[in-house]
């Protein structure tokens, strides 16, 4: 698939880059600067179709402008009656045939790419992640491994990773603009999509199907690291001891408060495939809190004290006892210290 | 306010025509009943494999419906071009709908 349109593509990438430089579009978020296989397939078609459309537009506008300049009714022509033309076979054939050809030029690569991206016959030879969409967070279960993450999806670069996606409630849609197009996450059937990142980095992911009030806050991150780092990370995650006591006293209080306030009835630290709430095993490594807030302690305390004001309609609100400021603060301390791996969004972001 | 019009005579040519038409319609009816019996018999006795039964049932139904439309509802007659167009249009949209819902809402 790659490179079926060499020259034009580089031209367009250049202009796309110009756009980025002009402040339009954030790196690792914009679809205009593809950094993964799916995004690149789409981008090829976007470029091809844009070229076709520009051609059509130029033709239409050319005729349009000529018509407007030449055939305006001028002074003294008030009674001029133009020749009444019924039509013209040749012309009409021409503007039927040319669009057909243009459409075919676009249709063929479209079909090819559609089949290419839908091909999951080799899924079992690659990494598989079972993705669950929830209002309003993402759960990632690494098939064949004994751990799960939420909100942050780690993948190795240069490799296909198959996402098997199912929703636990309403329809969501998983989208990582600069790596891959989107696919819906339905409640009744698993949809499979593969992604492949070319470069290391932290990529923004979004939910693209209206799923309730906090739909716009259902962000997540894809952390693409080198294959070696990925293996290291897997190892780190495998060896987490969920029972381990934190180092300092505040965090120890936090752990106690965490358990007391029945946080564990929804969340898990360590492996727990069926999750009511996000898995917190590597919470301290996460790039964001609740998917979109900067990972500061203050933000976390705010979240714990009143999640409703941050993510309206979320399912944590009201499902745990009211916390005192102190409790929240110590829980925050505890959670922020859950940092099982050296491989973090920060190290990948570089 | 209106007097009963059944005293009005209609000409005998017309009457004969109506009668002929009626005869055809009775034959149509007999065929329809026969088709129905065949369809029920096939399923009731279970003498055929599923692979053959379903297309056969559908064909029987389609022919029957053709009879209804063309004879009972006079779609074959003159002046029915527009109705026929609309029914075919509706059937086209109907076919697309049914095929899609039974094929790609598959899980």
């Amino acid at each position: 698939m790659r490179g079926w349109m060499g020259k034009f593509k580089s031209l367009f990438l250049l202009s796309a880059l110009a756009l980025v430089l002009a402040g339009c579009g954030k790196e690792n978020l914009t679809a205009l600067v593809p950094k993964g296989y799916g995004a690149e397939s789409s981008m090829n078609l976007i470029i091809l179709s844009t070229i076709i459309m520009l051609f059509v537009f130029v033709v239409v506008i050319l005729v349009y402008v000529i018509v407007l300049i030449r055939f305006r009714r001028k002074k003294g022509q008030e009674n001029y009656i133009p020749k009444q033309v019924e039509g013209n076979k040749t012309l009409e054939t021409v503007w039927t045939i040319i669009p057909i050809i243009l459409v075919l030029i676009l249709a063929v690569p479209t079909v090819a790419a559609t089949f290419d991206l839908a091909d999951d016959s080799n899924a079992s030879e690659h990494i598989n992640v079972d993705v669950t969409g929830n209002q309003y967070w993402w759960h990632f279960d690494y098939a064949g491994e004994e751990f799960q993450t939420s909100q942050d999806l780690y993948i190795p670069t240069g490799e296909k990773v198959y996402l098997n996606m199912l929703s636990s409630d309403v329809i969501h849609s998983l989208w990582i603009p600069s790596i891959s197009g989107k696919m819906d996450v339905n409640p009744e059937n698993v949809n499979t999509m593969y992604i492949e990142a070319y470069e290391e980095g932290v990529y923004w992911g979004k939910c693209a199907e209206l799923c309730g009030p906090s739909h716009s806050l259902m962000d997540f991150k894809v952390i693409a690291v080198s294959p070696e780092e990925y293996d290291q990370w897997v190892e780190d995650m495998q060896s987490v001891d969920p029972e381990a006591e934190p180092q300092d006293a505040v965090a120890q209080d936090g752990k106690a408060a965490f358990e007391e306030n029945s946080c564990m009835s929804c969340h898990a630290i360590g492996s727990s495939p069926a999750a009511v709430g996000p898995n917190l095993t590597n919470f301290g490594d996460r790039s964001k809190i609740a998917g979109f807030l900067d990972p500061t302690k203050k933000n976390l305390v705010d979240w714990l004290m009143d999640p409703e004001s941050i993510k309206p309609g979320n399912k944590m609100t009201g499902n745990y006892p009211e916390l005192s400021e102190d409790e929240a603060s110590s829980i925050a301390e505890y959670l922020m210290q859950l940092q099982p791996s050296e491989i973090t969004p920060e190290s990948a972001g570089k | 306010m209106t007097e009963n019009t059944s005293t009005n005579k209609i000409n005998s040519f017309q009457k004969q025509k109506n009668k002929d038409e009626m005869k055809k319609q009775v034959i149509t009816f007999v065929l329809m009943i026969a088709f129905t019996i065949v369809a029920f018999a096939i399923v009731g006795t279970g003498i055929m494999q599923k692979m053959f039964v379903i297309p056969l049932l559908l064909i029987l139904a389609l022919v029957q419906v053709g009879f209804q439309f063309y004879y009972f509802m006079h779609l074959k007659d003159k002046g029915h071009e527009m109705p026929a167009t609309m029914i075919y249009g509706g059937m086209w949209a109907a076919l697309l709908t049914i095929v899609t819902l039974s094929v790609i809402a598959w899980w």
């Binding site: 339009c24 579009g25 978020l29 914009t30 679809a31 995004a39 078609l45 976007i46 059509v56 239409v60 506008i61 005729v63 349009y64 407007l68 055939f71 009714r73 022509q77 133009p82 020749k83 009444q84 033309v85 039509g87 009409e92 669009p99 459409v103 249709a107 479209t110 079909v111 559609t114 089949f115 991206l117 409630d169 329809i171 849609s173 603009p177 197009g181 989107k182 696919m183 819906d184 339905n186 409640p187 009744e188 059937n189 923004w204 693209a208 209206l210 309730g212 009030p213 906090s214 739909h215 716009s216 962000d219 979109f292 309206p312 | 609309m86 509706g90 697309l96 790609i104 809402a105 899980w107």
Partner: protein, 617 residues
């Protein structure tokens, strides 16, 4: 019904007259009034959306309210503004264009109108009765099933009632075109706007039943515990998406084809040329309608239907570019070699060509399924459909309003203000929506209550909001123009534009029986033929005689009111069964009206020859 005449009579009489009217021209006024009102409402909602998105993480609207806002904006604009405005224009003009005195089913015509009105009111009552629907105008299950409160119930019943009205209107137009054309008005002599009305009605006829069924399923699931979309009991949420889009895609052609039709008439009138490639134009319209039924799954490329389905639908989608292209080029060719006069009606039509072409082209880009994996549910799609809907349908409605205003109301809209409106709206429109293509590609999904800071989306959204306010200014000027014209606009002659088609042979506004004697049509553009052959007037096809006209009736209004009451009952019976009384009472009223209608003979009345003779031409 001229406005001056209205003023001489008491308000009560006028009101009663409108409530009971079965005259297609007055029904048109009501459609325009209702549609116009809902357009302002929908526009106001659009402004709220744009204000919320003026800066990142704005808190002008709450999250829930924002979702209600977009849902009501989309639903209102499509079902309660654009379609009724178009139906209004069709009602006003189509019977005149085919030389008919009325429509086939005047009573049903009025029923369709009132069902739309009451459906629209019901839907909007939700704002005051516990919250509007909030699952998007597409109401995807299971979000719409789980949506708390009664919002989605209002959506279901409001659309069901309004939709029934539209369906009735469509059937009425079909029968009218088939049976009521004047002598000599063959199908291939009908003006393009009449053709568009006819084909649009076909689309309504085949598309709306799918929505009807979809809404029933949704209603059963929400109110009566059925399990169509309940995954736990084997339900399947994709069924809703199919049913919605089987309706939804033809719906967008329902919105655009009438605009295509009226642009054809306008281009040929103001170029003083016969429409180029008339036959091709007619067949292209049919082809668009036909293909329009085979592409709906392009809204569902990301659902996971599989590569075969996606490919088929992608190709079918792109194919629509061909007949639409034929239209664009035929319009250009109509103007080529013509004598183009530019007034406000023509300005809107000229503005339409580049705008719609851009919208159509982004449509084809969306049709490329793999590219759509990126575009889908982003602002790119929002940009696409506003380019075609605003740049096509709304421009079309405004063009049609300016063009036929004299025919409908007897006065000519102020040209200066008309041109000002156009330019401000045009600039505002492109400011608002062009940038949205890039916002989408830069990673901004649609239906986002807030966008986050530091994502490079701030500037684009700001520009977009500024554009929306320019459009608002333009709309306000247009409103002022309407009021100004009503009070001191120029009186219109019968044929202010050197017209070509039959509507310009009647007075402005026409007598309520339209034609004293039915005209004899001798070819395409009948009035033009008579003009070029020196007479300048239609030859009557019949001697002057009594004219048979239908009687007015209040029953359509009451019947719709009955359905409205029953609708409210249905919505609230979930809370308390006492509301079932409203269901019974409402249905009793509606069925009672039907019974009265069918049991009481209504033979209409005659306008006698002597009366007609007394009236001057």
């Amino acid at each position: 019904m001229s406005i001056a005449a209205t003023q001489k009579r008491g308000f009560g009489t006028v009101l009663w007259d409108y409530l009971t009217t079965v005259d297609h021209k007055k029904i048109a006024h009501l459609y325009l009034f209702g549609g116009g009102f809902f357009f302002l409402l929908g526009g106001l909602e659009a402004l709220f959306i744009r204000i919320q998105l003026i800066t990142p993480e704005n808190d002008f609207l709450s999250a829930g309210l924002y979702n209600e806002m977009i849902t009501m904006h989309g639903t209102t604009m499509i079902f309660l503004a654009a379609m009724p405005l178009l139906l209004g224009l069709m009602n006003a003009v189509m019977p005149l264009q085919i030389g008919a005195r009325d429509v086939a089913f005047p009573f049903l015509n009025s029923l369709g109108l009132w069902l739309f009105m009451f459906g629209g009111i019901l839907l909007n009552l939700s704002w005051f009765l516990g919250g509007a629907p909030d699952s998007g105008w597409t109401s995807y299950a299971p979000l719409s099933i789980q949506s708390p409160g009664h919002g989605v119930d209002f959506y279901v019943l409001g659309l069901q009632i309004a939709g029934a009205g539209t369906l009735i209107g469509g059937i009425n137009f079909l029968a009218t075109v088939v049976t009521m054309r004047a002598p000599g008005m063959t199908y291939m002599r009908m003006p393009l706007f009449t053709w568009a009305t006819f084909i649009t009605s076909v689309l309504i006829l085949f598309a709306f039943p799918a929505l009807t069924v979809g809404l029933f399923l949704l209603m059963f699931d929400r109110m009566f515990g059925s399990a169509f979309f309940d995954v736990a009991l084997g339900g399947n949420t994709i069924i809703w998406q199919h049913l919605f889009w089987i309706f939804g895609h033809p719906e967008v052609y329902i919105l655009i084809l009438p605009a295509f039709g009226l642009f054809s008439d306008i281009f040929s009138t103001f170029s003083r040329k016969r429409l180029f490639g008339y036959t091709a134009m007619v067949f292209a319209t049919m082809l668009i309608a036909f293909l329009g039924f085979m592409v709906w799954a392009h809204h569902m490329f990301t659902v996971g239907l599989g590569p075969v389905a996606n490919s088929i639908f992608a190709i079918a989608t792109m194919a629509i570019a061909v007949p639409t292209g034929i239209k664009i080029f035929n319009w250009l060719a109509t103007m080529w070699g013509g004598s183009i006069k530019i007034n406000s009606a023509m300005l809107w039509s000229l503005g339409f060509i580049p705008t719609f072409t851009i919208g159509g082209m982004t449509g084809v880009m969306l049709g490329s399924s793999v590219a759509d994996y990126q575009y889908h549910d982003t602002y790119f799609v929002v940009a696409h459909f506003h380019y075609v809907i605003v740049g096509g349908t709304v421009f079309g409605i405004l063009a049609g309003l300016h063009y036929w205003w004299p025919k409908m109301f007897g006065r000519i809209l102020h040209e200066g203000m008309g041109k000002f409106t156009f330019w401000v709206f045009m600039i505002g429109f492109h400011l608002t929506f062009f940038i949205q293509h890039f916002l989408g590609l830069m990673g901004m999904p649609r239906r986002y209550w807030v966008f986050l800071e530091d994502q490079g989306l701030d500037l684009g959204n700001l520009i977009s909001t500024i554009g929306a306010f320019l459009m608002a200014i333009a709309v306000i000027v247009f409103l002022y123009n309407v009021v100004h014209t009503a009070i001191k606009g120029d009186k219109a002659p019968a044929d202010p534009y050197d017209g070509r088609t039959l509507e310009w042979t009647t007075a402005s506004p026409p007598a309520h029986y339209n034609f004293k004697q039915l005209p004899l049509v001798r070819g395409l553009d009948p009035l033009w033929i008579e003009k070029t052959e020196g007479k300048g007037k239609m030859t009557p096809a019949e001697p002057l005689g009594d004219i048979h006209m239908p009687n007015g009736s209040i029953l359509p209004f009451i019947m719709s009111l009955g359905f409205f009451i029953a609708g409210i009952g249905f919505i609230f019976q979930v809370d308390h069964s006492a509301w079932l009384i409203a269901v019974y009472v409402g249905m009793a009223i509606a069925i009672g009206c039907m019974l009265i209608r069918s049991l009481k003979d209504d033979h209409g009345h005659h306008i006698h020859k002597e009366e007609l003779e007394r009236e001057a031409d």
